[in-house]
């Protein structure tokens, strides 16, 4: 592993508060380890499980490289399959804008995995207030604008485009982030497995309801999918406001994870 290029000190709003500086150290074999200064060591002493995990895994906290972003892992393939499946369902529903958008991004991701796309790293500074401010603005627009209208469509499209553009580039190596990055160990895998199992179960049920409901007269009432359940509820302004808040909070949370990775 090569030494990371020195990068200017910068500030991420989404970074954990209280994160003390740490720097990357390289031994003679070139393996990267972590050299912590006093405050971080003191913090780790109060964070025993994490400290133990750090001791077990050591160099797994090395900063990610550009190649790392393109590594074909089980998770990568699984998510591509998920996107392909969602795209297939949208095609079968003849929901063309949904299907075309999903298909376009899926295609870009596949091309990216071949290494054909050029992309560098970016330095992100003080983006948190702007993202939260934008989310509040979009929330107000979506609350006022009627569902399925042009204004709501523009707000959601703008949100998605901005979120994808924000999430796409790698962040320049940041010693804070490198030091705090969690490792992909067995407990992490178990958490991912639990999430996957719950979502797969829900999606299989959703798919079954969609297929059964599409083949029978009055099928949507006999076999309601999540959309059939939520659609009438969201016609209520308060329910729609709650959905918008939850949706935007989830988006901000995902972007926060983007900066903490």
């Amino acid at each position: 592993m090569t030494s990371p290029a020195p990068t200017p000190r910068r500030s991420h709003l989404f970074r954990r508060s209280g994160g003390a500086p740490a720097r990357l150290a390289h031994d003679e074999s070139g393996a990267a380890g972590l050299a912590h200064d006093e405050p971080r060591a003191a913090r780790l002493a109060h964070d025993e499980p994490r400290a133990a995990r750090l001791a077990r895994t050591g160099p797994a906290h090395a900063p990610r490289s550009d190649d790392d972003a393109r590594t074909l892992t089980f998770g990568t393939v699984a998510w591509l399959v998920v996107l392909a499946a969602v795209t297939g369902v949208q095609l079968s529903r003849r929901a063309w804008p949904d299907a075309l958008t999903l298909l376009a991004v899926l295609g870009v991701l596949v091309v990216d995995l071949t290494g054909s796309l050029r992309h560098g790293t970016v330095t992100v500074s003080h983006t948190g207030p702007a993202i939260i401010g934008a989310a509040v603005l979009v929330g107000l627009v979506l609350f006022v604008a009627p569902r399925h209208g042009t204004v709501a469509g523009l707000a959601v499209v703008a949100s998605g485009a901005a979120a994808l553009a924000y999430a796409w580039p790698d962040r320049a190596d940041d010693d804070h982030v490198a030091a705090d990055r969690p490792v992909w160990d067995r407990p992490t895998s178990r958490t991912a497995l639990a999430w996957s199992a719950a979502w797969i179960a829900a999606c299989l049920w959703e798919l079954a309801m969609f297929v059964l409901g599409s083949h029978e007269t009055d099928g949507r009432n006999l076999y309601p999918a999540a959309s059939d359940l939520l659609d009438p509820v969201l016609d209520n302004p308060l329910a729609k406001a709650l959905f918008v808040v939850v949706w935007l909070a989830a988006g901000v949370g995902l972007l926060a994870r983007t900066d903490r990775r």
Binding site: D68, D98, A163, W168, M209, S214
Partner: protein
């Protein structure tokens, strides 16, 4: 109607219970930590953001429900 509602709620409740129990026993990490690690991979990161966006689009803008019997 009730059957589907119960199934979706059960999925959510089961996930919550399993995660809470797993984190307490030290067998699992928190969801936030898992997401942080998963999002180190660009493909997964973009896929997650795209699915999030599509949920908003589907329920707020796009074609949320389909007529039955027409597949």
């Amino acid at each position: 109607m009730i059957r589907s509602t119960v199934v979706f709620l059960m999925c959510g409740v089961a996930l919550f219970v399993v995660l809470r129990s797993g984190v307490r026993r030290g067998a699992m990490v928190t969801s936030a930590r898992m997401f942080e690690r998963a999002m180190a991979n660009r493909t997964i990161r973009i896929a997650m953001v795209l699915v999030w966006w599509w949920l908003g689009w589907h329920f707020l803008v796009g074609q949320t429900v389909d007529p039955g019997g027409g597949l």
